[in-house]
């Protein structure tokens, strides 16, 4: 059974067809890279997979379960997590509170109006452990507003990982990072265990190629090329629309 199966997925904004009959099959534990020029519909595809957009036609299955009409928030409970291309965090709060919100999202106590969140030891411990993994434990109590861009990227990843996702969608996790930060994030992603399936959008080919097992090339909303690393890089169509000469 595939971790993620997409068949005949289409989406149009008015006359602009951003996703055209996309088929995608991601095996459990696979590292899949999605590439394509700007405007190819990569992020739209992510938004369709996570349910932030509703497709016009086609279907999405998560481990065999049809989730095409399942609301976005339920998909998180079914084991899907994502990071955003444009960092989307809670700027007024501390780093650890950001991660705690991610933990709380899947916990029934998110509806509790009576207990003191700061005194819930198990949340604090788990959030601290997640920050340990991304190397931010020492600044856990720092307000997010006082952190660097690279640190925020790692907070995003910590939030996604702390939800123990089965499928993790990473939207340009290396965008805007310095060389050192890129190396840190890469090591972080390489350390993610194999029971997590990862689909990643990335432009930065040096790091991305090293990471990916299979690559899908999107162009004008269509899947143009799909295959393993060498196949896709060698394909003349990849050179034409994406890599250049």
């Amino acid at each position: 059974m595939s971790a993620l199966t997409i068949s005949g997925l289409s989406k149009a904004f008015g006359g602009l067809r951003v996703t055209r009959k996309v088929d995608l099959n991601v095996a459990p534990g696979e590292r899949r890279l999605i590439i394509g020029p700007n405007g190819a519909g990569k992020t739209t595809l992510f938004n369709l997979i996570t349910g932030e957009l509703t497709p016009d036609s086609g279907s999405i299955q998560l481990f065999g379960q049809d989730i095409t009409n399942v609301p976005s928030r339920r998909r998180a409970h079914l084991g899907m997590a994502r990071t955003y291309q444009i960092i989307t965090l809670f700027a007024r709060d501390t780093i650890i509170h950001n991660v705690t919100l991610a933990l709380l999202g899947l916990s029934p106590s998110r509806w509790n109006p009576l207990i003191d969140l700061k005194r819930q030891g198990h949340f604090v411990e788990r959030a601290q452990a997640a920050l340990e993994k991304v190397g931010l434990a020492h600044i856990a109590d720092r307000p997010l507003a006082q952190t660097s861009y690279g640190e925020r990227r790692r907070v995003e990843i910590a939030m996604a990982l702390t939800q123990n996702p089965k499928v993790l969608l990473l939207d340009e996790p290396f965008a805007g990072l310095s060389i050192d930060e890129r190396r840190d994030v890469k090591n972080l992603l390489l350390a993610i265990p194999r029971d997590v399936t990862i689909v990643m959008i990335e432009h930065n080919m040096d790091v991305a190629l090293e990471f990916a097992e299979r690559i899908t090339l999107l162009h004008f909303g269509e899947v143009i090329v799909e295959g393993n690393r060498t196949e896709v890089v060698a394909d003349p169509r990849t050179r034409e629309v994406y890599l250049g000469h």
Partner: protein, 329 residues
Amino acid sequence: MNLRVLALGAALVALVTLPYWMAGIYYINVSSQILFYAIFALGLNVLVGYAGLVSLGHAGLFGVSAYATGYMLQLGFGHPTAILVALVISMIAMAIFAALSLRSTGIGFIMITLALGEILWGLAYRWISLTGGDNGLSLKSRPAPFGFSLADANTFYYASLIIFLLSLAAMTVFVRSPLGAALKGTRDQPRRMNALGYHVWAIRFFACLFSGLLTSVSAILFVYYTQFISPQTLALTSSAEVLLMVISGGAGTLLGPVVGAGLVVVVKTVVSGFIERWNFLLGAIFVAIVILMPEGLVPGSVRLWRRVWGKRGRDAGAGVVASGAEAKS
């Protein structure tokens, strides 16, 4: 932190002993007014400060509760029944209000709540058989719970104080709870909250109900205080006044709305006795607050205090600048 506990303790002592040092019944009554308007402002602050949803129709809900109490008493029911029915009716009204207005956020939410508030005002004004129209409804008496007659100014003050402290405690617990944290999350990043597994609409709906409950409690105190309710209470200016309390004191803070309520009520009742153009004065104060302390009196004073007395001032200032930059992204 010790300073904070000390200040809050001193405030509490001052409130409890107020009838003994306050000069005259008139000022004790003004203090009661501040307390129930503070509960109203706390209720509106749940939406404005913590949910990021600005309502301009809360005076309408306030009116529903006040009219329900008055009408039940007129039908001959006792005080406990009247209060209970008023609470239930205003919660139902709030649920309908929320179901309609939560279809939108931002400007859309403001406009829908404004329209709903105006509809309720119109009903109070024209549905004469129920509301008495322009003449309003009069209440014959105040209740006497446990044998303490609330007809006495001091007793009414203490009843208001107890209910105010309970409301403030409820608010404190809620803000620190997981649901409170979730609500603040939906204010700052609704899209992210949804992706994290939260039901954003339902969280906002519960916030509306909590806000409605506090509004209703304050309205019941109000209607027993004035022993009279007329359509004017439901007018847009009343909604704007409470919004002014929340924003001037500090939206999204626990004590901001309380300080705001104090400011507005004092200017409206006490200062208006000396200055005929008190509306002008209130406007001028508001403009000064917006220019000097845009975050509101309570957080603004804390910031000034730290700048003058503590080294922490610089850190806090840096935080404000950085969060301002973040807000653009």
